[in-house]
Amino acid sequence: MADEHRVPIRSEADVLTARHRGRELGALLGLSSTDLILVATAISELARNILQYAGKGEVTLRVVNRGRHRGLEIVASDDGPGIPDVARALEDGYSSSGGLGLGLPGARRLLDEFEIHSEPGKGTVVRGTKWAPDVAD
């Protein structure tokens, strides 16, 4: 199992690829079937954001360790216009209305850890992690 899986996001077919890769890695880590769907859905939201607001970018999937715990780290990055007000973008009002729907607050709710770095003109990096259950059977 490679350390890092980079999926370039240039078209919606790539969104599906990224989702699929996330599911594969998640399954290897022992994520529950529910968690696998959460991961795939989060990747879908983040990858679509890239397409919609930056045109292209990249999703990187990595297995991470913290002491005894293993997790799947998802990094969605692009060189797009950036988000002027990150705090506001993470507010709930933007999510399910179907309008501006950045999908960020939603993606955050699907993952265990979540952080976002973005500045206008400097692109956006979203990093989230889903931790696997403590002990493997």
Binding site: T34, N65, G67, R70, V135, A136
Partner: protein, 303 residues
């Protein structure tokens, strides 16, 4: 059962050159007296209430073989730098002690007992050369630290796994999904609900809807002590998720006090279909499903 591995492995201990000499000194003595050492350890164990049964239930040849293997692995680690097999052996020991139900103190004494037993032999061999004796005792201490840490960590992991499994079993028991009649299931909740449990409840409820083809779920929260806004939000999420699957959820057992608290906090309860008590909830459920309960008069007995 495959044992759980700590994935961030501590690096194999590296010992300095003069430690190597001290370890060779140690093994010379150990090899020469290993039978006495084994006998002394077994004797001590036989006198220990938690260990006696195991000592006496195992044939002497097996004890001897176990000791031989342990000694060999220790030697290959300390003198040849082959730490992995020895560390694996220690980890298995820790797991075994935990699963056998040995107390923390007992496993500690088992591992530390080795030093107590070998000590007099080392003093006898090197007592005339204090620096050398000092070095040997130091090396033995280092070995023991490695053993205690490795066995201990494995012991704790196995214990934590046991506790986790028990908690899982308790959760399963406390979140039963009860099929009542066709299309209707009941989920009586008992106990406090944190976000982890809330997720499990939602998952069980949704799987229950699928498995029993339920169109209606009665979710009874009479047994849930504190319904605060967090719990209420979990309930709302559960209700919404069930609706996505085509099922209606009726929440019963929401006390007047709880309801008032939630209204005061400002939780939007409009998404919750609530009925006072379980019986009322079942009647409502029947109504929604289109059932009508009719009382059948007992036939008059002809005397």
């Amino acid at each position: 059962m495959e044992r759980a591995r700590p994935l961030a492995e501590p690096p194999a201990p590296s010992l300095a050159v003069d430690e190597q000499a001290a370890l060779r000194d140690f093994f010379e003595v150990y090899d020469a007296h290993h039978e006495e050492v084994s006998a002394a350890l077994l004797e001590w164990a036989r006198g220990h209430p938690e260990l006696r049964a195991w000592v006496e239930g195992t044939p002497p040849e097996e004890h001897a073989e176990r000791q031989r293997r342990s000694r060999e692995l220790m030697r290959r680690a300390a003198l040849d730098g082959e730490w992995e097999p020895y560390l694996e052996h220690l980890r298995t020991q820790g797991m075994t002690y935990s699963q056998a139900g040995l107390s923390f103190r007992t496993w500690f004494e088992v591992v530390a007992g080795f030093r107590r037993v070998i000590h007099p032999h080392l003093v006898e061999a090197y007592g005339g050369d204090l620096p050398r004796l000092g070095a040997v005792l130091g090396a033995v201490n280092r070995l023991l630290e490695v053993a205690l840490a490795t066995v201990g960590e494995a012991y704790l992991e196995a214990k934590e796994e046991q506790i986790r499994a028990q908690q899982e079993a308790i959760r399963e028991l406390s979140t039963p999904v009860l099929p009542v009649r066709e299309g209707l299931i009941i989920l009586p909740l008992v106990g406090a609900i944190d976000s982890t449990r809330a997720q499990q409840i939602t998952e069980r409820l949704l799987r229950g809807i699928e498995a029993h083809r339920a169109r209606l779920v009665v979710l009874d929260i009479t047994g849930v002590p504190a319904v605060d806004s967090a719990v209420a939000n979990h309930l709302l999420q559960t209700v919404r998720a069930a609706r996505l699957m085509g099922a209606t959820v009726v929440v019963t057992g929401m006390s007047a006090a709880n309801a008032q608290t939630l209204v005061r906090i400002g939780v939007d309860l409009s998404g919750l279909n609530t009925v006072g008590d379980l019986r009322g909830g079942l009647e409502e459920a029947d109504r929604l499903l289109g059932y009508r309960t009719v009382r059948v008069e007992p036939e008059a007995r002809a005397d």
